[in-house]
């Protein structure tokens, strides 16, 4: 927070087009003022239909029981836990962008942090759904919390990694929600001052009487920094604990110490791909070309190369250690992973996660947003398969060959997975329609307008 910030003229401006703060308000609020476009309706209706499909399949599951899924005695975790880990991972890039990059003073994050945080919250909601419906009797889900009960009170088992998960995911959801809301308050005040009628009443309620007084800003910025400082270790702990669901077990292929860093980097890798997928669509459909520039997309592509590299190193390390350990079960699991019945899933994962990001080394590809978008989807697919490979290939060859089996998801499982995408995109479309997708107050601060030595102002 120094008074004398010097802007290099050599450094590219963070926002294109010599915009003023008023332009930012206008551009960001424009999609909320008019009627939604036809494109928005198409997207929203597709998302709601998928959500409906998900609700129907979950209702069917409730009525019939877990038997409607393809799980069997050997493969007890399939689509459900794969989807859970996938969605939690998606969320992590939002926190990386909003908290970790904030601590590193990466000011380019201002253009993408709001929607990345929204993505985090919606992804964690989708993630939380899967363990919940996997319980079989989800109406007793509150049993996972340690509350005084009439059964003793019988407390939960705090030594279980699944119990840690409950605390990790709920903390992650609440802190992300708080962080997001705190960031929204000044922008809600801007909306309040522009809106009329019912909208204004709602915005007045949620903007908490914000008036931009600097004594409030001063404390607000302190709290924002504190929350970023809290969310950073939190995001690492959450996926560490998710990986411990596997690592603290005795299953070959799961019982490895590499899991926490491997899962965390994979999560950020997949999340960045999802941020790119969403951001490039939002940029195009909501005309935010001046705010989300080549620089942002390029920076995210480079982060993908870095995290993708860590993931590739983890794949190689796993194989090396399986051989080097001399443990025959460990060796079998990894050879079976690459050349066994699920080899197709394994090689899909390697192609999407190890080879795809290498294309981002070329600046020509980083500048072609259509190719970037396609590649980001391939990475999403690859990261979903990573979790599938870890979970299913480690389980399907049990210790006794008589228990060996093959897992195929049923239509209900696929419909539930599609339903989670429906939930995610329904919420995302509503967010784009009713809330500012860019953190206006933050973007105004990096414009360089009204500053004598400002970079963008002339």
């Amino acid at each position: 927070m120094s008074t004398h910030e010097v802007y290099s003229t050599l450094r590219e401006p963070l926002v294109d087009g010599n915009l003023t703060p008023a332009d930012v308000t206008r551009d960001v609020c424009a999609p909320m003022d008019g009627k939604p476009s036809g494109l928005w309706w198409v997207g929203f209706l597709i998302a709601v239909s998928l959500l409906g499909l998900g609700v129907a399949s979950v209702a069917y599951l409730m009525a019939k029981g877990i038997g409607v899924w393809g799980l069997n005695r050997t493969v007890g975790w399939g689509f459900d836990i794969t989807n859970f880990v996938f969605w939690v991972g998606i969320g992590h890039a939002g926190t990386l962008i909003s908290a970790v990059l904030f601590l590193f003073r990466q000011r380019w994050r201002t253009a993408v942090n709001r929607s990345a945080e929204a993505m985090t919250i919606f992804a964690v909601m989708c993630a939380g759904l899967f363990p919940l419906i996997h319980m079989g009797r989800p109406w007793l889900a509150y049993f996972v919390f340690p509350y005084p009960n009439t059964r003793g009170p019988l407390w939960i088992n705090f030594r279980s990694a699944l119990c840690w998960d409950v605390f990790a995911i709920s903390t992650y959801f609440l802190i992300s929600l708080g962080f997001w809301y705190i960031g929204l308050v000044p922008d809600l005040a801007t909306l309040r001052d522009r809106a009329q009628g019912l909208k204004q009443k709602l915005f007045r309620f949620f903007s908490l009487g914000w008036d931009g007084g600097f004594r409030t800003w001063h404390r607000y910025e302190t709290v924002y920094l504190l929350l970023a400082g809290l969310a950073t270790p939190l995001v690492f702990s959450v996926h560490t604990i998710v990986s411990m669901d596997f690592a603290t077990s005795v299953i070959p292929g799961w019982h490895t110490t590499i899991f926490p860093p491997y899962f965390v980097s994979g999560a950020i890798f997949s999340g960045l791909a999802m941020v790119l997928t969403l951001m490039l669509i939002a940029r195009k459909t909501m005309h935010l070309e001046n705010y989300i520039t080549e620089r942002h997309v390029g920076a995210m592509c480079k982060l993908i190369i870095a995290t993708g590299g860590i993931v590739a190193a983890a794949y190689a390390t796993e194989f090396f250690i399986a051989w080097y350990s001399g443990n025959e079960y460990e060796r079998f699991v990894f050879i079976n992973r690459a050349f066994g019945p699920y080899a197709w899933a394994y090689w899909t994962m390697v192609t999407c996660n190890v080879l795809t990001p290498q294309l981002f080394w070329f600046s020509k590809i980083r500048r072609n947003f259509l190719i970037v978008w396609v590649l980001s989807i391939l990475i999403n697919v690859g990261m979903w398969f990573e979790r599938f490979v870890i979970i299913v290939t480690s389980l399907h060859r049990d210790f006794l060959p008589s228990s060996w089996s093959y897992y195929v998801p049923t239509k209900i499982e696929i419909a539930t997975f599609a339903g989670s995408f429906g939930l995610f995109f329904t919420l995302f479309f509503l967010f784009c329609r009713f809330l500012p997708v860019l953190a206006m107050a933050e973007v105004k601060g990096v414009l360089g307008y009204g500053r004598s030595r400002g970079g963008g102002d002339s």
Partner: protein, 175 residues
């Protein structure tokens, strides 16, 4: 007599210079209303660093201690259960939940403290209801506490810094 002067600016460097000047002349700055956090304004206004980090630390320590105590009490005292032959007080296994609770308490607690300290709540009336402030203008509010603030001189100084609008507000109104 007590007077307040509201001066509106439309550039960040002007509000910084005007605020600094007001402080040097000894005028009492009520508050500066800005659309975004202007860097360096805290020094210009002479605001002390906030003590909120201490509160946050305290809340985190409280969350960690309370949860650790609860886990040991629930697992080893209230209903000791032999789970896989593990010790009743399996301290290392209690660390993840302790950590998560520390973060939860510190994070949600500090948001609550922020709202209390700044008086933000859903039914609060904004001190200034000027839609330009949440858009792209800056408003400097100063108060005359003694004879030192001569309205005409102050106005002149603010105009020199580029104020586009200056209003005198009787002291009963506003914050």
């Amino acid at each position: 007599m007590n007077r307040r002067i509201h001066a509106v600016f439309n550039r960040e460097d002007q509000i910084l210079a005007a605020t600094r000047d007001c402080r040097e002349r000894g005028y009492e700055i009520i508050d500066v209303f800005t659309p975004y956090p202007v860097h360096g304004l805290d020094q210009a206004m002479g605001l002390k660093p906030s003590l909120l980090p201490l509160a946050c630390f305290g809340l985190g320590i409280f969350g960690a201690a309370a949860m650790l105590y609860f886990q040991i009490w629930a697992s080893a005292v209230d209903w000791p259960a032999n789970i896989g032959g593990k010790p009743l007080n399996s301290l290392p296994a209690f660390i993840p939940v302790t950590f998560e609770t520390a973060i939860l308490m510190a994070g949600l607690g500090i948001i609550f403290v922020l709202f209390t300290r700044t008086g933000l709540h859903p039914f609060r009336k904004p001190a200034i209801t000027d839609p330009r402030i949440t858009d792209d203008h800056f408003l400097l509010a100063i108060r005359q506490t003694d004879a030192e603030l001569h309205p005409r001189l102050a106005e002149e100084m603010l105009r020199e810094h580029g104020a586009i609008e200056i209003t005198e507000v009787p002291t009963e109104e506003g914050p």
